[in-house]
């Protein structure tokens, strides 16, 4: 084959669109295939245990997506998952693997629980945004500190963020059992309940709290920031090659701290909604693992904030159905964690096929004939 044959011919300049299109298709195809592979591995796992995978997935569908009630359950869980996934996806644009979102969720929630009494008499129009901002601030400081440590001291952000999640949970237990404990909470130590007027209600006409709308808006905001602004562009350059970014004079330090803080603010907001819309007060239920499921969601969505929306919905459905599925099929509580583990390994292993599917050649083949 001659070299000239591989070069674009003068007669076919329009073919330049093929390569980005091929990359897009591959970007969709690989995660979907990985998700299915993860499900298939889990189905095999169930078969080996003598359980029916068909029953399993049918039950998940019924309990997660089958009825109006299950949809409202799924959507309520999607709200914190969306925000937790953003806590991973936003710093990921800079090449940072931040996995401590759980800590920011917990601290955001504790912040709301702690302010519940002092703000109880305030008008909701002032107190509610204030509470949300304080929760976001707590998360932003917590995860922003991870970014600052990375920037100033070269501390590995993955290890640091996870360590800080453990510290945050210990702090929460301390506050909830000690200084902030409501003496009235006997069986389950909690902070004083949030005043009824300050609680976040449901979306009009829906059986789902406002957190869902805010979380979806947050995803759109993050997408615009990353994909449509110069800040996001600078972040992508810094994520690709930090030295090139520094040579270009980009403020890498500010980007690192800003993006980690923004991710933390989203996770802190998740804590706000968990307390103000779901639990009513801060207690140990805050550390329910949303932060960890959020990691998987971000990786499945390839850290694309818009792709996070459908992926979070899917995984929220699995989480919403877990209680029923486990009871009906006599499976242990950890079943969904195992499923998530399989899917996580599959999605990461699928990275190895990136750029190897050769879709561009496949797409142009028809034209050449």
């Amino acid at each position: 084959m001659s070299v000239a044959g591989d070069l674009p011919k003068a007669g076919a300049p329009s073919r330049a669109w093929v390569i980005p299109l091929a990359a897009r298709i591959e970007g969709l195809l690989l995660p979907v295939a990985a998700l299915l592979a993860g499900f298939a591995a889990f189905a095999l796992f169930l078969l080996l245990l003598g359980k029916s995978p068909v029953d399993f997935f049918a039950l998940v569908y019924k309990a997660g997506f089958g009825t109006a009630f299950s949809w409202s359950n799924t959507l309520s869980r999607a709200a914190p998952l969306l925000l937790a996934a953003l806590c991973v996806a936003v710093p990921a644009r800079l090449g940072l693997v931040v996995i401590g979102g759980e800590g920011a969720i917990v601290l955001g929630g504790v912040m709301v629980g702690g302010l519940a009494l002092p703000l109880s008499g305030w008008p909701p129009l002032i107190a509610m945004p204030l509470l949300a901002c304080m929760a976001a601030l707590a998360g932003a400081v917590w995860i922003g500190a991870v970014g600052a440590l990375r920037q100033w001291r070269g501390v590995n952000e993955t290890i640091a963020s996870l360590l800080m999640a453990y510290i945050a949970i210990a702090l929460m237990n301390h506050m909830v059992e000690g200084p902030l404990r409501d003496p009235a909470s006997l069986n389950k130590p909690s902070t004083a309940p949030l005043a009824e007027a300050l609680r976040v209600g449901d979306l009009p006409g829906w059986n789902v709290h406002w957190g869902l709308a805010v979380a979806v808006l947050a995803c759109i905001f993050a997408w615009v920031l990353i994909d449509r602004t110069t800040i996001g562009f600078a972040a992508r350059i810094a994520g690709g090659n930090i030295r090139a970014a520094q040579v270009q004079g980009l403020p890498v330090g500010k980007l690192v701290i800003g993006f980690t803080a923004l991710g933390g603010a989203f996770a802190g907001l998740a804590g706000y909604f968990e307390v103000s819309a779901v639990h009513g007060s801060a207690n140990a239920s805050l550390a329910s693992g949303y932060g960890y499921t959020g990691i998987l969601i971000a990786f499945l969505a390839r850290h694309n904030p818009l792709a996070i929306i459908p992926v979070a919905l899917l995984l929220a459905g699995f989480e919403a159905s877990s209680g029923l599925v486990q009871r009906r099929m006599d499976l242990p509580d950890a079943t969904m964690t195992v499923l998530q583990g399989f899917v996580f390994v599959a999605i990461l292993a699928s990275e190895t096929f990136t750029g190897r599917l050769n879709l561009a050649a496949l797409l142009t083949k028809g034209e050449q004939r």
Partner: protein, 307 residues
């Protein structure tokens, strides 16, 4: 009983606690030293530790022998390490991310299969009473040392010798410092790394078996509270030296023993906060031992966290 020696009970309990609590740190970090010396990082050892705790306890209960439990935990850990090593040998697969995924999978599988073993009682690993010379029960309690702790100490020395003086150690170091140099010498870096990760996994499994078979000595879902993660961070602090790992593990063991030790003399305020102590210490140590440029002295050059 505490009235006899007053506040001396605290340092004594911390010494005893340090020895008891440090063993899992020691095994996990020794394993991770070998893995990281080959140029890979396995963040998933927390999951391996928990799975090792479960499988060790289950096998010890089913066979009636604690040592068979330890072997089973090592085998299970080696399998987890092998999976990590094989997956990371594929091009473009990130070792840190795979570690996170295996952390999730390991804990999930451990809880999944461990459910039936929460109630039953498995045999314990034997301890050697090094406090026989003292009449004080506190001293005797502090110096009841488990065989695995002593084994870990010997292993630390052996691994240090292996890295420095043997052909195997040289191969490991070459692979960890430069894949290209290793290939030029006719060594296959991928194979060495897979074996090193499997070895690291096996030791993490043993660390887990210690948790469920000696201290605290039972299997439940809260058995590990981040020891696997702390041990990984500890390797950086120990500058990839097995002997340093031994001392670092003791230090972290003492930090972990602080809460229960204070509680034993009646200090209960800040009890929940004391759970944060080992993590805060790890973070502080990590901050102190890192540097702005990201370059770490003594780090294997192929290691992704230092690149």
């Amino acid at each position: 009983m505490n009235g006899d020696i007053g506040l001396w009970a605290v340092p004594l309990a911390m010494l005893g606690g340090a020895i008891r609590v440090s063993t899992p740190f020691l095994f996990v970090s020794l394993g991770e030293v070998i893995t990281e010396r080959s140029g890979r990082i396995n963040l998933g050892l927390e999951g391996t530790l928990v799975f090792g705790a479960m499988s060790g306890y289950a096998l010890a209960f089913l066979t009636g022998s604690a040592w068979i439990g330890v072997l089973a935990a090592a085998l299970a850990g080696a399998i987890f390490g092998l999976v990590h090593g094989l997956l990371c040998s594929l091009p473009r697969v990130n070792d840190i991310a795979i570690g996170i995924a295996l952390m999730l999978l390991g804990t999930g599988l451990a809880f999944f299969f461990g459910k039936p073993f929460i109630q039953p009682v498995a045999p314990d690993l034997p301890a050697i009473n090094l406090g026989w010379w003292s009449d004080l029960p506190q001293v005797q309690a502090a110096l009841r040392v488990n065989v695995l702790f002593l084994l870990g100490f010997v292993l630390a020395l052996a691994l240090a010798w292996m890295l420095r003086r043997t052909r195997m150690g040289l191969i490991l170091r070459v692979v960890g410092d430069s894949s290209d140099a290793a290939r030029a010498l006719g060594i296959r870096p991928a194979r060495v790394r897979i074996l090193a990760t499997a070895f690291g996994g096996a030791l993490a499994g043993v660390g887990g078996a210690y948790l469920s078979l000696f201290y605290p000595g039972s299997w439940n879902e809260g058995i590990s509270s981040g020891q696997g993660l702390i041990a990984v961070a500890l390797v950086i602090f120990a500058r990839w030296s097995p002997v340093n790992c031994f001392f670092a593990a003791l230090l972290f063991g003492a930090a972990g023993a602080l809460g229960p030790a204070l509680q034993s003399v009646g200090v209960t305020s800040g009890y929940y906060l004391s759970y944060a102590a080992p993590f805060v210490l790890t973070l502080v140590v990590l901050i102190l031992s890192s540097s702005k440029s990201g370059a770490l002295t003594g780090a294997p050059r192929e290691l992704s966290i230092t690149k």
